[in-house]
């Protein structure tokens, strides 16, 4: 097991540092590439698990003909969906560039798929915040 994946229960003693470019970088990279924020801090297992989870949820969502939301549709629910989708970072950008996903949600399974894509983005935001917490010393 990697040294960085220690199971020690001792809380970090170093005082948390403020927001700087160095501490923000894991969060930004982690948002763009799911799990990369952890990987760049040598949290290999966590990074790989996050990457697999987020990418798999996004892929399952696409496989179920889920819809990728676009900005500026004027519908509040669409805007919320767009914010969730955007959390997937590069996956969302790639999906929009390559025009992935269903156009309309006409079946129950496509609705599940759409939720999968939104939740993949939201989970990736949680992971990016976690990477930031590791960078500032708030978490091991």
């Amino acid at each position: 097991m990697a040294k960085s994946e220690s199971t020690s229960t001792i809380a970090p003693t170093a005082a948390p540092v403020s927001l700087t470019a160095a501490t923000a970088m894991p969060a930004i990279v982690g948002w763009l590439i799911p799990g990369a924020g952890h990987l760049m801090q040598k949290r290999w297992i966590r990074g790989v698990l996050i990457m697999i989870s987020v990418v798999a949820m996004f892929a399952f969502g696409l496989g179920m003909q889920g819809k990728i939301y676009k900005p500026n549709t004027g519908d509040l629910l669409d805007i919320l969906g767009f914010i969730g989708d955007l959390g997937s970072g590069a996956l969302y950008i790639l999906g929009r560039m390559l025009d992935w996903g269903g156009i309309n949600i006409t079946t129950a399974i496509a609705d599940y798929g759409t939720k999968y894509i939104v939740v993949a983005g939201l989970l990736n935001i949680m992971a990016a915040v976690d990477a930031y917490h590791i960078a500032i010393g708030k978490k091991q």
Binding site: T7, H38, I52, K139, Q140
Partner: protein
Amino acid sequence: MMLALQLSHFSAATIFAFFASIVFGITQRNTKDEMIRYAAYCFGVFMVCMFVAGWVMWLLHH
């Protein structure tokens, strides 16, 4: 060509619970053991809630 998955509601909810629980475990706890326990707990709660909600919907329908 995009693969069209046809999952049942149960399968879709189980896969959802599995991946969401992994990320919850990693992000909400500090040590490896705690992460594993919390992920397992989240998955269990997801599954129990799914069964309860399923039976409630069945009872409301009948």
